[in-house]
Amino acid sequence: MSADAPIAPTAPTMPASSTADQGHPGALETALRGRRDAGHKLLIPYVTGGMDDQWLLTVEALAGAGADAIEVGIPFSDPMIDGPVIQDASLRALERGTTPQGILADLSRIDVGVPLVVMTYYNLIERAGHTRIAGAMAECGVAGAIIPDLPLEELGPWAEAADHAGVATVLLVAPSTPEERIRAICARSRGFVYAVGRMGVTGEQATLAASARQVAGRVIGATDLPVCVGIGVSDPEQAVEVCGVADGVVVGSALVRRLLEGGGPDGAAAFVSSLRHALDAL
């Protein structure tokens, strides 16, 4: 085995909430709190980085259509928590030669006026090296990161590097998460808390799962951070329904499907506009 692999020792203990940056919320939390406190529901669309040759234009179009932050997927070969649509987009991106470094470099060339959050799997982070990739994210204007296969107990070395670089690590709460654990996750989450709407992988659903509103309610009761629900939020009606409880929504597969079908930046913008209008009417 290679001896020079960038493996940091992992503390198996539960990381404590960092008091150091409680007085200095990052760009992501500041932006989302500001919007929420001004009475808006938060809208965070997701696009897989590198999935087609127009994806960067799509990111700009999403901002123009009323997104409050934009989640950009860095594709991984084995996306364990993703359903068929995002698997397909990831595969296309990888076939186009997409790399984490390439996506960050592309993002550094745009200024969309809302925070960018990357979503990826932990192996890409560890392989690049925690400090190096956290620094690269910050330099490229990325405000936050979502790493769904890095739960609280395994968070240590990444969270430290991310905090130091000023990248907010957004943690997830699932419908299966017990109360005490919700509080621990919320205490360590930065930027916002991602409430997983249903037990399952990413993908569109005909109806909103009952668990979406339930989990949102449980998380809202445990934190002052903005709480956004993702996974299984597919259309304006469902977004409105879940925002009866939550502060906002993350919409991924429904948008990516439109892009895979050739909708392009304009089609993506039209869909996000429809979500924006529905949420603004609340």
Binding site: M1, S2, A5, I7, P9, T10, P12, F76, S77, D78, P79, M80, I81, G83, P84, Q87, L91, L94, T99, P100, Q101, Y121, Y122, N123, L124, I125, E126, R127, A128, P148, D149, L150, P151, L152, E153, E154, L171, L172, V173, A174, P175, S176, T177, P178, R181, I185, V196, M199, G200, V201
Partner: protein
């Protein structure tokens, strides 16, 4: 973590820097619940007694250790086989599924899901589900459903549903992804009966404990045959590494036997891989410089996996076990040679261990007169059609 080699990895599930529990939050409570249930069951005498009873009366344990008379003569090395191929369903996989099936029942889960490569673990899981009256769904890469058609039918006969997986490389790695995805959605009612010493904690530890019966039987069996001595070398094939972990567990801490695990040359995570995180664990993985997982390629569907269990990565790092590989050509030769010299057709997976013994006897790495114990993890009936097609150039 205890100092004992192959002991309890503790609540963090760490074997040195390897192991852990890298799963989505949705699955963390289920993994914790499983760990707690396993800890309680494993120290419960009644659970252990019931498991032993089923493994004896239903599973065919203990399996014998047999002397390979003619092959030993040809090689100049004394070869002993631990005959896991004689266990019910034709491989060591039965040890693990009976354990996990009992545990699932204890946890009130009535549905088992599993991944399978060669189909041996799928068949074993379907068997346990039938025995315990549970539903069963097996995920199998589309490529593997073709090269192991007969095992697909066996699983269906046993009442299981086989779902072909068409994502990624359409082999074992992708079957694991799909089983994990299914588990997230059904965790309330379903136990994921993972087939090897891999995945998130507690699986690598729990599966090794369910498989350690192989080594715990073999050590005294060997001593009886060897006038109280231990074999010089204990060798096993390794994909995820469950049969290797099972036999190593009987020798790692209590003997000076050298331990050798043989991976497929096209899935040699220990010799060509680097540390990384996949399928809930940190271990040695075949990956590119960005961390994208590479596709393994082997004649043997059961070893067609770009990773290995985390405890193996640790044993390799410690130097307690050695990790080598065997190529498809020498494996095919070993497959035929054991059939002709001993009247035993091994699984293609197990033939990797035989291939290494033949090669090592040839180079003198196994000196003349030394004794080697091979874990013959499974029988080769499932591979006969595939081998015929290769040897006869398609049928």
């Amino acid at each position: 973590m205890t100092d004992e080699i192959m002991g309890d990895p503790g609540p963090s599930g760490r074997f040195g820097q390897y192991g852990g529990r890298f799963v989505p939050e949705s699955l963390v409570p289920a993994c914790m619940e499983l760990e707690e249930a396993f800890r309680a069951a494993w120290t419960d005498k009644a659970f252990r007694a019931e498991l032993d009873e089923i493994l004896q009366r239903y599973g065919g344990r203990p399996t014998p250790v047999a002397e390979c008379v003619r092959l030993s003569e040809e090689l100049g090395v004394r070869v002993l086989l631990k005959r896991e191929d004689l266990a019910h369903t034709g491989s060591h996989k039965i040890n693990n599924v009976i354990g996990q099936g009992l545990l699932a029942r204890r946890m009130g889960k009535h549905r088992l899901i599993a991944e399978t490569g060669a189909g041996q673990h799928g068949v074993a899981t379907a068997t346990a589900a039938a025995l315990f009256g549970m539903e069963c769904v097996v995920y199998m890469g589309e490529v593997d459903t073709h090269r192991q058609e007969l095992n697909v039918f066996r699983m269906e006969l046993l009442g299981a549903e086989v779902r072909p997986v068409s994502s990624g490389s359409r082999t074992l790695k992708d079957a694991v992804n799909e089983a994990l995805r299914e588990w997230v959605a059904t965790v309330d009612t379903t136990h994921y009966c993972l087939g090897s010493v891999m995945g998130p904690h507690p699986y690598p530890w729990m599966v090794r404990e369910f498989q350690r019966v192989i080594g715990d039987e073999a050590r005294p069996q060997c001593r009886e045959m060897l006038d109280g001595a231990d074999p010089d070398v204990v060798v096993a094939c390794a994909g995820g590494g469950s049969n290797a972990a099972g036999i190593f567990a009987g020798f790692a801490d209590s003997t000076d036997s050298a331990l050798v695990a043989v991976e497929a040359a096209g899935g040699a995570s220990m010799t060509t891989g680097m540390p990384g995180v996949l399928h809930g664990m940190r271990s040695a993985l075949m990956q590119n410089e960005e961390g994208q997982i590479l596709e393994a390629e082997s004649i043997s569907a059961g070893l067609d996996y770009p990773g290995i269990g985390p405890e193996h990565a640790y044993l390799g790092e410690l130097g307690r076990a050695r990790y080598v590989s065997a190529g498809d050509t020498e494996v095919l030769e070993a497959f035929q040679r054991l059939a002709r010299t001993e009247g035993i057709i091994p699984a293609l997976e197990s033939a990797h261990a035989i291939a290494w013994v033949i090669a090592a006897a040839g180079t003198g790495e196994l000196p003349v007169g030394s004794t080697v114990l091979v874990n013959l993890s499974g029988r080769g009936d499932k591979d006969v059609a595939q081998v015929r097609d290769i040897l006869k150039g398609g049928a």
